[in-house]
């Protein structure tokens, strides 16, 4: 049997979730077939083929950047090959495609999945519900194909076995261009106008930053990690950062995926504004600082030493 995995890409970049999806698919001990759709695909197929057993490539300009076209094409491919599972990331694209596909194919669907296994021929998933406070195990109903969307970052692609699978070009099954839903353009986030509530990674600085002159250090880290600098109230009080960067009850409430609190003690009003973050890391000299009780990870040291070191390491890992 086979598992289909969508190779997600955008604007010439293959997305990491593609490999995470392959990693998840491997837990089902089946042949993993990646499908790659769109145009100007560059060496995406080769990159995916390195870890997939097989890659199906559909080159069709009409599919590029159109979730409806994606849905129809994937649906056609699945109808033809009847894979046991179709698997993709629970990304923005996944949220648009996967449920539609489930209806089109009359398939059971599980989204935002953090664990996957096969038991007695049935697909079993683990989902994290109620704000991550509860885990639930679910069994998917019997069907020809099941649709699964996995949570980004949950399935490590670090140890994927190399397969160097075969790349096959497939004719586009798309009958006609999608008229009801036309892709127009990508819109970049407005430069300069920083919205800390929209950032996935926040480098948040508090009093411990000590001096306005140390702020570029935080900016550099934010640039390296692709995040944004936010702060606690005192930093705004000192006029070191504008008010719209302030996290807390009297500032913005943020829910980033990563919240790195540098030199923030964790006053109640501050914590109330960031406790929704998925992962909180605290860097503070004072082990007794309340921030450590809300953080998952902590470094007890001077942020002025940790921050530049972290920036360097991240740059290293990225290159």
């Amino acid at each position: 049997m086979t598992v289909y995995v969508l190779a997600e890409h955008r604007r010439g970049e293959l997305m990491d979730v593609t490999f995470e999806s392959i990693s998840a698919a491997r837990r089902l001990n089946d042949e993993v077939v990646a499908i790659l759709l769109g145009k100007d695909l560059g060496d995406h197929a080769e990159k995916v083929a390195k870890y997939a057993d097989k890659v199906l490539v559909v080159e069709d300009e009409r599919i590029e950047n159109n979730t409806e076209a994606y849905t129809q094409v994937i649906g056609e491919l699945i109808k033809k090959d009847k894979p046991k599972v179709f698997l993709m990331g629970n990304t923005s694209m996944g949220m648009d495609i996967a449920p539609a596909l489930a209806i089109d194919l009359d398939s059971p669907i599980a989204t935002d999945v953090v664990g996957i296994s096969e038991e007695g021929g049935r697909i079993k998933v683990m989902r994290s519900v109620y704000n991550g406070k509860v885990l639930s195990d679910l069994v998917l109903g019997e069907a020809e194909t099941s649709v699964i969307a996995i949570r980004s970052g949950e399935f490590s692609a670090a140890d994927l076995e190399e397969k160097n699978g075969e790349i096959t070009k497939v004719d586009s099954p798309l009958k006609e261009a999608i008229e009801n839903k036309k892709f127009l353009e990508f819109v970049e986030p407005v430069a300069g106008a920083v919205d800390i509530t929209q950032a996935d990674v926040l480098i948040s600085v508090g009093r411990g930053i000590k001096d306005k002159d140390n702020l570029p250090m935080a900016e550099e880290l934010a640039d390296a990690v692709g995040g944004v600098v936010s702060c606690s109230r005192p930093v705004v009080d000192y006029d070191w950062l504008p008010k719209d960067r302030q996290v807390g009850t009297s500032g913005k409430t943020v829910k980033p995926k990563f919240y790195l609190a540098f030199g923030i003690s964790g006053a109640f009003q501050h914590v109330a504004g960031m406790k929704g973050a998925t992962m909180i890391v605290a860097i503070n000299k004072d082990i007794k600082a309340p921030i450590f009780s809300v953080a998952q990870y902590g470094i007890v040291d001077d942020l002025l030493k940790v921050m530049p070191a972290l920036t360097e390491k991240i740059k290293e890992l990225k290159s």
Partner: protein, 255 residues
């Protein structure tokens, strides 16, 4: 522009201690507070804004018992015109719910149907798109901007990394709304009192003609995750600690 918004009442578990009931099928809800699902609240606000820009009506819909009516009243106070509660037990899964809502909506007059992009309890994020598919209309998920043109909309979808993609979508359509699309207005207590006069229709599955469908997922068990360590301290020199943190961040997908 006639807009239907589907809303759901969910428990607030962000800060509360959550425990799982004896059967492992559901969490204990006695000490939890319930409110309109956060994403749905944005959807209601968006619907009202669209109505305020143009003429039309906003109808809010929910499925469940009488205890769910407060979120409808609240939506009416926000500015919705009509509310419908489909009086029935909570559906077993999103597919069953989608089927119920589809049955209800298909006979209503609408240009646009809005859902929250996901819900704060199970965060599946599938119901809206399923309903769209059942209705056979266009959809967009994770919508963070709607501009109404003549019979079409310019719709912005939120992608990863702060990027947006813009679609032109023909109406009627269904969008699932991402938080941040607007700033939902505050609903004052006196506003809720005043909105008591507005119509809140209670319908039964029989009224709507709901047919039974089989759930797609079956719950095996719910359980608490193993107790997480509070702030696992990363030791070593600043450089060592930074290196470990950098790897950890990479592993978790921060960059």
């Amino acid at each position: 522009m006639d807009v239907i918004v589907c809303v759901k009442k969910v428990p607030d578990t962000a800060e509360a201690d959550v425990s799982v009931g004896a059967g492992g099928r559901e969490i204990n809800k006695e000490r939890l507070t319930f409110a309109i699902n956060e994403w749905d609240n944005y959807a209601v606000e968006e619907a009202i804004r669209l109505k305020e820009e143009d003429e039309g009506t906003v109808t809010v819909v929910t499925v469940g018992g009488k205890d769910k009516e407060d979120i409808l009243r609240r939506s009416l106070a926000m500015g919705a015109d009509k509310a419908i509660r489909l009086d029935m037990e909570d559906p077993e899964d999103s597919f069953v719910l989608a089927n119920v809502l589809y049955t209800l909506i298909k006979d209503q007059k609408f240009d646009l149907v809005l859902f929250g992009a996901q819900s704060g309890d199970f965060n599946s994020g599938v119901t809206g798109v399923m309903v769209a598919r059942m209705l056979g209309i266009s959809h967009a998920a994770m919508v963070n901007g709607i501009e109404v043109l003549d019979g079409r909309t310019k719709t912005s979808r939120e992608l990863e990394g702060g990027l947006n993609e813009i679609y032109e979508i023909k109406l009627p359509a269904l969008f699932t709304i991402q938080t941040g699309i607007n700033e939902p207005r505050y609903v004052s207590i006196s506003g809720i009192r005043k909105a008591r006069k507005k119509e809140l229709k209670v319908m039964t599955p029989a009224d709507v003609g709901v047919t039974e469908v089989k759930p797609m997922l079956s719950l095996e068990k719910m359980y608490l995750p193993p107790p997480g360590k509070i702030a696992e301290i990363i030791g070593g020199s600043p450089e060592e600690a930074a290196a470990k943190l950098a790897s950890l961040l990479k592993e978790k997908g921060a960059f």
